[in-house]
């Protein structure tokens, strides 16, 4: 059954982590939703590559952080913060593709 990620997660955000990385946090409403998504392994490399139009080598890590019932995705920034061509210095608006996501649980 398809479930919208926005129905499971109360926080979906992005932010720079230093000048070279972007990190996305999905914080779930409850441990139940977190466990279901974690077990289904739907937040994976393949999905992130598709959502962000990037190659696996650009993924720094996908980490499950149980104390916060959260999944964190970190990728390399296409451009270092402030380089010519930059579009989002704070990286705070790179979360949107996750908002449209529907997951199969």
């Amino acid at each position: 059954m398809k479930t919208k990620l926005t129905d499971l997660a109360s926080v979906i955000r992005s932010k720079n982590s230093g000048p070279y990385e972007l990190t996305m946090d999905i914080i779930f409403n409850d441990f139940d939703g977190f466990e279901k998504v974690r077990k289904a392994k739907v937040i994976n490399e393949e999905l992130v590559c598709k959502l962000y139009n990037i190659a696996p080598k650009d993924i720094v890590g996908i980490v499950e952080f149980e104390p916060a019932k959260a999944i964190k995705i970190t990728i390399r920034r296409p451009l270092c913060s402030g380089n010519l061509g930059e579009t989002d210095v704070y990286g705070a608006q790179q979360h949107a593709p996750l908002l449209d996501l529907e997951v199969d649980l």
Binding site: V11, N16, V63, N83
Partner: protein, 456 residues
């Protein structure tokens, strides 16, 4: 059991403000330390390179007035880390003048320590020759630092750990104003010097540097209180409308971090794999098990920025669907015409068009680039060149060329762009990029950071 070490963190970044009621609530708890982080690399390379603060002078003065007055009157040390946002020499001097002004106006007398964090190009080049410089970000631009890169860099700062702070306390400082500092060290140094655990103090510092962001509802402009015991620490919000919960504190651990379990810093890393959180009271959280693992070699993070030119931008929009359908071709055509116009000049310039409504926010990461749903585009025309005059000329040429560009199927022959402003073009001034983001091995973690004492 030792007495708990008590720390009052006033706000997430000096100048972001905090309610007086929260501050007074914190002072009632008799803190051993009042501290604040004043900086970040988040606003990008400009502020470091240009030597300019990204926080407002009046706002910084307001926050410091409350902190220094209370601290000096009660004999509680006050520590400010990463002065002026970037922690270079001009940033330190800028903040020092504010402190001197406060001391004069409030008739306060105290010993101020200034800890310098700017590192000379010669020192970094020497370290490079000796093989003491390492890439922090393998595989990205920033790996192979050269002498030429160092020479081109306007300003380099090193991120200090706890040792320079401890030295300044031992030197009798009542107020410490530090250049670029590892954010948690601002909060943890005094506790570690008094024998409290480095892992717990550092983890607490990580939380306190963002003040009330770890509470729910979170805020970057409210105070937070920390207590360190023998084998735990506690965090407590100081406004009755906020609570710390195990989830709010854990969620904050994720914020801006690459990996929430392993957090590298000067001299080693914080390991949170064995950390446990427990709801202590209704509004406070108790944390145990955070460990500091010293590295084999003490390394300092270096940050440097270099000037690459001057920028001029023009902001415009289009509501014409024919034009929007051909935007890539039009941009390409404009670039070619501008190149042709200035072909005799031998200018080195960068001309870029950010198209909002298509991929202006996400750039190459945008999955919907080829299926925009907008009925209008916002366009930022950006020129960067070696001088402001050249950037003006390139931007003006691109703007006028785009305004009158004849594309296939064009009906709107009077003009292609809507400009919200007259004048249509804006000087953005100097443009900087990060040119150093590396680790430098050092034998003595305090030595690179000179300390001056001023009796006010």
């Amino acid at each position: 059991m030792k007495e708990e070490f008590r720390i009052l963190s006033t706000t997430a970044i000096l100048g972001y403000g905090f309610p007086v009621a929260s501050f007074e609530e914190g002072m009632k708890r008799n803190p051993h330390l009042i501290a604040v982080d004043a900086g970040s690399t988040d606003p990008g390379p400009y502020y470091l390179g240009a030597g300019v603060s990204f926080t407002n002078r009046d706002a910084v003065k307001r926050d410091l007035e409350l902190m220094i007055k209370a601290g000096v009157e009660r004999g509680i040390p006050v520590v400010i880390g990463t002065a002026g946002g970037s922690g270079g020499e001009p940033h330190l001097q800028w903040n020092k003048e504010i402190i001197e002004e406060i001391a004069r106006e409030q008739n306060l007398h105290f010993k101020l320590a200034l800890i310098h964090a700017e590192i000379s190009r010669e020192e970094v080049k020497k370290a490079l020759k000796e093989g003491r410089i390492h890439a922090l970000e393998p595989g990205v631009d920033g790996t192979g630092l050269t002498e030429e890169d160092i020479d081109a860099t306007s300003r380099i700062v090193a991120q200090m750990g706890i040792d320079p702070f401890i030295a300044a306390f031992q030197g009798g400082a009542q107020v410490i104003l530090a250049g670029r500092a590892y954010d948690p060290a601002v909060f943890s140094a005094l506790a570690v010097a008094q024998g409290y655990d480095m892992g717990l103090a550092t983890h607490l510092g990580k939380i306190l540097e963002c003040a009330a962001i770890c509470a729910t509802p979170g805020s970057g402009s409210d105070c937070m209180f920390g207590y360190i015991g023998d084998d735990y620490f506690r965090v407590e919000p100081l406004s009755p409308q906020r609570k710390c919960t195990t989830v709010s504190v854990a969620a904050h651990t994720l914020y801006e971090k690459t990996n929430p379990y392993i957090l590298p810093g000067p001299g080693g890393h914080l390991d949170l794999t064995g950390t446990s959180l427990e709801q202590d009271t209704e509004t406070t959280v108790k944390v145990r098990g955070s460990k500091f693992i010293p590295g084999k070699q003490y390394a300092l993070k270096l940050e440097g920025a270099k000037r690459i030119g001057f920028r001029t931008v023009s902001i415009a929009g289009t509501r014409d669907p024919v034009m929007m359908s051909q935007i890539d071709n039009i941009i390409q055509g404009v670039k070619e015409r501008v190149a042709d116009n200035f072909s005799g000049k031998n200018w080195n310039y960068y001309l870029n068009f950010i198209v909002y409504g298509r991929d202006g926010v996400m750039g190459s990461l945008e999955p919907l680039r080829n299926q925009p749903k907008s009925h209008e585009f916002g366009i930022v025309i950006e020129a960067v060149a070696d001088t402001q005059e050249q950037a003006d000329a390139i931007c003006a040429s691109a703007r006028s060329t785009m305004l009158h560009y004849g594309y296939h199927g064009r009906r709107a022959t009077a003009g292609n762009l809507a400009f919200p402003y007259s004048p249509s073009d804006f000087h953005c001034g100097e443009v900087y990029v990060f040119s150093v983001y590396h680790l430098m091995d050092v034998e003595d973690p305090a030595a690179p950071f000179a300390i001056d004492y001023i009796q006010l």
